[in-house]
């Protein structure tokens, strides 16, 4: 039966450069490349090519490049080729379309429509190489006022908090959706950087308990891998209510990814699908959420902050207000560009709202209601650079969750095929021969490098504004101006237009 499908990509091999070393064939888990003995040359069948660039990166003579095919259907402004192809695919299988990583559609990126201020003449700028510059930050509930006794001892109640040496954390990615080596890279990098990584819903592998002080343990609707020791191991506990890539739906780790280790870590039988329900079946109200928060606090002797993670959706400000009142210490908001190991395409591409707008709305609402100090706000869902991060902090974020950026440091080329479980970079796979492609020794170093680089850049930009600490930048919307934005957008973001 013909499937009407034509490969998206073409592999261009420069035969003059190819030395037939076969590394492309050996490294492609999708079996696109092969050596043909009769022709004594490499051949390619692009049908399964996902453009992950593994072959291109390893080719020792740069004989390869991958280009988008220029085979085109008849032009149609209403029916772009991708929608026609997706219809063919579904007509053939009857299935829901699956995708991975973040929403790639051409919606506006507000980060790119916001500009940062710099000092001139008055309020002079600061050179971070010469003067102290603070990017350390603390997450958790803050006391409304600070009182001391005559001896200078703190009288106000203090709350459990997280201390971050840099304003970045690695966002939740479960062991299962990503490999053990990816987890080890994140855990070691978080430890070295003095920040935190997040287990996601996959439990904590026994080898990683030693990184517990730099681990945020997640409790999600499937409750996979949750037990007392697990809760006690982490520095904070995150209740996952939603995920930016797929708000309103649960998760599904296919049985093929549930090998011996994943099974043990998640506490489910080997080879069975791990299905996280769409809702927490014990949470139907803010009061229910409060119960879970306090159950977890009780279980960990009120020593650890509790984070509640939600997806950025239409009434996010009201939801955040409820969470702030439910006893959570930190609210994490995940924008619609946030990544995933697998999500239905239609959901990923059409549900949720931009993190920029959600963040601005939540921060404004909590301030208006006078409860901003009750919680810290962490945002994720596509912060792509240090400048995005500076803008996020100025819009009110306390810290940044990085998922996709961290994966890029590990070698991810955003081919968005994680759901295929054959990640050629050893990240989103459990196949031992692929997992070993990610050497944590290299992975962790690249993560550390990336965060150090971003931290330097953050300091540089803060210095330019004459600001020397994250605390002074947080919510400082005067430092931002919009460009090419409507009145409404500026109003939601709470910033003036450039030139104002």
């Amino acid at each position: 039966m013909i499937d009407f499908l034509y490969p998206d990509y073409e592999i261009i091999r420069n035969e003059k450069r190819c030395i037939t070393c076969k590394v492309c064939a050996r490294q492609c888990a999708n079996e696109v490349h092969a050596y043909d003995e009769e022709l004594d040359c490499m051949v390619a069948d692009e049908k399964n090519c996902v453009n992950c660039q593994r072959c291109v990166s390893l080719c020792p003579t740069r004989a390869l490049k991958i280009v988008k095919t220029n085979n085109v259907f008849k032009e149609n402004a209403n029916w772009p080729q991708v929608l026609i192809t997706e219809a063919y695919r579904q007509a053939a299988t009857g299935g829901v379309l699956l995708s991975s990583m973040g929403n790639p559609q051409p919606y506006p990126v507000y980060w790119d429509k916001i500009l940062i201020n710099a000092s001139q003449v008055t309020n002079p700028s600061i050179d971070p190489l010469r003067e102290p510059m603070e990017t350390q930050t603390f997450l958790g509930k803050k006391p409304q006022t600070v009182k001391f006794d005559k001896e200078g001892n703190l009288l106000s109640e203090s709350y459990p908090h997280l201390k971050l040496e840099v304003p970045f954390m690695f966002s939740a990615m479960s062991y299962g959706s990503i490999s053990k080596n990816a987890h080890e890279s994140l855990a070691r990098a978080a430890t070295e950087l003095g920040t935190f990584y997040n287990t996601g819903e996959g439990g904590l592998h026994e080898d990683f308990y030693k990184y517990g002080e730099h681990t945020i343990v997640q409790v999600a609707s499937g409750r996979f891998g949750v037990h007392k020791k697990y809760l006690e191991a982490g520095a904070a506990i995150e209740i996952k209510m939603g995920q930016g890539a797929k708000p309103g739906i649960g998760g599904h780790l296919p049985g093929i990814k549930v090998g011996e280790d994943v099974s043990k870590t998640r506490m489910i039988p080997q080879g069975t699908d791990a299905i996280s329900p769409a809702p927490h079946h014990d949470i139907y109200s803010i009061e229910d959420l409060r119960q879970l928060i306090f159950s977890l606090k009780e279980a960990t002797h009120y020593e650890k902050p509790v984070i509640v993670k939600i997806a950025a959706v239409h009434n996010v400000a009201a939801i955040a207000s409820g969470i702030a009142r439910s006893g959570a210490d930190i609210i994490s908001i995940d924008g619609y560009r946030g990544g995933t190991g697998a999500a239905p395409t239609r959901i990923r591409d059409n549900v949720g709202i931009p993190i920029e707008l959600a963040l601005a709305a939540v921060d404004a609402r909590l301030r208006d209601e006078g409860i901003r100090n009750e919680v810290s706000i962490v945002v994720g869902g596509s912060i792509r650079s240090a400048s995005d991060a500076v803008k996020a902090i100025a819009l009110g974020a306390d810290a940044i969750y990085l998922g996709t950026a961290a994966l890029l440091a590990l070698g991810c080329h955003l081919c968005r095929s994680c759901h295929g479980a054959k990640c050629n970079w050893g990240i989103a796979t459990q196949r031992p021969d692929l997992v070993k492609r990610l050497n944590p020794e290299i992975g962790y170093e690249r993560l550390v490098n990336l965060i150090h680089a971003w931290d330097h850049e953050v300091k540089e930009m803060m210095g330019g504004m004459g600001i020397n600490s994250i605390e002074a930048l947080r919510g400082n919307r005067l430092m931002l101006r919009g460009i090419g934005l409507s009145e409404k957008e500026l109003e939601i973001l709470g910033i003036a237009h450039a030139g104002e």
Partner: protein, 143 residues
């Protein structure tokens, strides 16, 4: 002494080390020339492939080398800890192939035998180490 070691946990079996080795010893200025027109140059490092395990093996530069002791012509010798072969003396009897417990003496149609010299005749870090995409091959001191 620094030697080349392979950590099989990270060896991908990509065989790039073999190609970088051949290239480094080809005397050519670029890799394409080194393998031009189907030129088959035997590397001095061998990748062993198993179902889930791969690792590269090359001369261990033993302190007590059986290949050198067994050499009938005196072509093999130890110079500063590195075991070298003098091409002009080797007659290709393969007694070293018989002796080496790691199978690291390479037989070759171009020359009589070949073996890893830790890139002593090239420069700096051995080519296999430089070319390994996953840092599975390291050049370091171990005791």
């Amino acid at each position: 002494m620094k030697k080349v070691y392979v950590n099989e946990d990270w060896c991908l079996g990509c065989h790039l080390c073999e190609y970088y080795c051949s290239f480094a010893n080809s005397g050519e200025s670029n890799m394409i020339k080194a393998f031009n027109k189907g030129k088959k140059t035997t590397p001095r490092i061998v990748v062993e492939e198993g179902s889930a395990i791969n690792f590269a093996v090359q001369c261990r530069h033993c302190d007590d080398p059986l290949c050198v002791k067994g050499c009938i012509s005196g072509a093999l010798s130890i110079q500063n800890g590195i075991i070298l072969v003098d091409d002009t003396k080797c007659v290709g009897c393969y007694t070293c192939v018989l002796s080496c417990p790691y199978g690291c003496i390479v037989t070759d149609h171009e020359k009589v035998i070949k073996k890893c010299d830790l890139c002593a005749s090239n420069s700096g870090t051995p080519a296999c180490v430089q070319g390994c995409p996953n840092a599975a091959i390291v050049f370091e001191e171990r005791s």
